[in-house]
């Protein structure tokens, strides 16, 4: 049951993709409505830490589904509408983070947490870069606005959240997983 091949897409991926999406949706809805105060237009979305965690723990398909569906649900719940490029950007964040899955065996080990965080960081940059550049195409803004107005603040906010919460999530998960004897 614990087949750790990266691109497998079976029952496990379906279930955790859905759970990740629902968690991401609910959490981003809460923070869309009650934003954490921040400087400028940086937004801190704790939901992103959960998304990266699901990617790291369950692989790229789960990250992609959780990010894409979750962001769509969160936006729809808060009445934003459907911004497919931001949803796909979130999906990319989860997918890239998920590529590290097979390399993580001990969620408590410091070096593996750092490795997961690095994949998360790359994922955030890739996902947010994609969404910001698409904003240029969809929203008709210029490249400077896309990078300074969207990419930089979104990336900084997400990196901070993941940096703080991902290690906590991974350590907590190690405890849960060992109790279940996995």
């Amino acid at each position: 049951m614990n087949d750790k091949s990266t691109w497998e897409f079976g029952t496990r991926q379906v279930v955790y993709g859905a759970i990740g999406a629902a968690l991401y949706g609910v959490l981003s809805w809460v923070t869309n409505i009650f934003p954490l105060p921040a400087a400028g237009n940086i937004t801190f979305r704790p939901a992103v830490a959960v998304l990266i965690f699901f990617g790291v723990a369950y692989g790229p398909w789960v990250g992609l589904l959780a990010g894409f569906i979750g962001n769509t649900l969160g936006d729809a719940l808060s009445g934003w509408g459907f911004y497919w490029h931001w949803s796909l950007g979130s999906g990319i964040m989860g997918l890239v983070a998920g590529l590290v899955m097979t390399q993580i065996s001990d969620f408590r080990a410091k070096d593996q947490i750092i490795k997961a965080a690095i994949y998360g960081l790359v994922g955030i940059i890739a996902g947010m870069l994609f969404a910001s550049l698409m904003e240029k195409v969809v929203g008709g803004i210029d490249i400077k606005t896309a990078l300074i107005g969207y990419f930089v603040p979104a990336t900084i906010g997400n990196v901070v959240v993941v940096g703080i919460l991902l290690p906590v999530l991974m350590i907590a998960f190690a405890a849960v997983a060992s109790r279940r004897g996995r």
Binding site: M1, F9, G10, T11, R12, Q13, V14, V15, Y16, G17, A18, I19, A21, A22, L23, G25, V26, L27, V30, N32, I33, L36, P37, A38, F44, P46, A49, V50, F53, A57, L65, I69, G70, L73, A76, S78, G79, W80, G81, F82, V138, G139, G140, I141, D142, G149, V160, V161, I164, L165, V168, L169, A172, F173, V176, R180
Partner: protein
């Protein structure tokens, strides 16, 4: 703090529609407005009225949606509206490129210094912020009734019959079903932690410690969900999920009323594209009557 929505069977035109029809219609309107970038009030306003009519036809009791609407109106008016007014964010560049009379300036300065900006509020920005609010409400009016009026049991079937694979449909189905559950879990966890003296709203410490303080709320819910996941996987494996093509309990069929609404949706989408790209109508401009109000 969190609201779990409730679906109720109602005998309305909207609820007799096929869920696929409603999702496709929603996407037609969203794509119709956003892909060709419609900012013309002569198109936005009629679409708003169509959405409003459909929303009212759903006959959702006001007490059910009161909280949702409160949040959304705060969001739309204060966050989106004010943002649009000050920075014209989220709009086409023509909002700030158009020569437009300045009504007043908002000084955004660090107190007692000259550091900061004087932000000019132009007629164009005021008009844009109205447009932006109505555009958002047009889409919101269609999206809000969905959880209240589509039976949670048919999301999976709806996506399956729109051509998604069994696995993807089931993911959507499960995600929709878990959403209110997790919303409830968060609010229970919040109450439980508060009873132990946890203060989420406390303003102490910087942003980093505030984010760290979210851990007692997030960790229990996420960890519980991973355990729930294992149980759901066991249950699905016992039913041989993924071994073969699945049959679904409900079968959806389009009725004439669905073709009517689908036709309207396609008309809106194609109409917006043709007007914008074919005739050059639908872009952003400030109508004279609005400018004249301020002169």
């Amino acid at each position: 703090m969190l609201v779990a929505w409730k679906y109720r069977p109602r005998n309305t035109f909207i609820q007799r529609l096929d869920p696929r029809t409603r999702l496709i219609f929603l996407f037609c309107v969203i794509f119709g407005v956003s892909i060709p970038e419609i900012w013309d009030y002569r198109i936005v306003l009629p679409l708003f009225l169509v959405s409003l009519t459909l929303y009212l036809m759903a006959r959702i009791a006001w007490k059910d949606v009161k909280r949702v609407w409160t949040y959304i109106l705060i969001l739309v008016v204060f966050i989106v509206g004010l943002n649009a007014l000050l920075s014209a964010r989220g709009g086409p560049s023509s909002v700030t490129n158009i020569v437009s009379p300045v009504i007043f300036t908002v000084p955004l300065k660090i107190p007692f210094t000259q550091l900061g900006w004087d932000i000019p509020v132009t007629v164009s920005k005021i008009w844009f912020s109205f447009n932006q609010m109505f555009r958002m409400l047009t889409m919101t009016l269609l999206a809000i009734p969905i959880p209240y009026t589509i039976d949670p049991n048919i999301y999976g079937t709806a996506f399956r019959q729109m051509g998604a694979s069994d696995k993807v449909s089931f993911t959507m189905d499960l995600a929709f079903r878990f959403l209110p559950t997790f919303a409830r879990d968060f609010s229970i966890t919040m109450d439980a932690q508060r009873a132990r003296g946890y203060e989420l709203e406390s303003m102490e410490g910087g942003i980093f410690s505030r984010i760290r303080r979210l851990a007692p709320l997030i960790i229990p819910v996420v960890m519980q969900s991973t355990v729930t996941g294992e149980e759901v996987i066991d249950a699905m494996d016992l039913r041989a999920f993924g071994t073969n093509r699945r049959t679904w309990l409900k079968d959806l069929k389009y009725a004439p009323r669905d073709y009517l609404i689908l036709g309207l949706g396609i008309f809106i989408f194609v109409g917006c594209c043709v007007l914008r790209w074919g005739f050059g109508v639908g872009g952003y401009f400030v109508p004279d009557f609005f400018t004249n109000l301020f002169l």
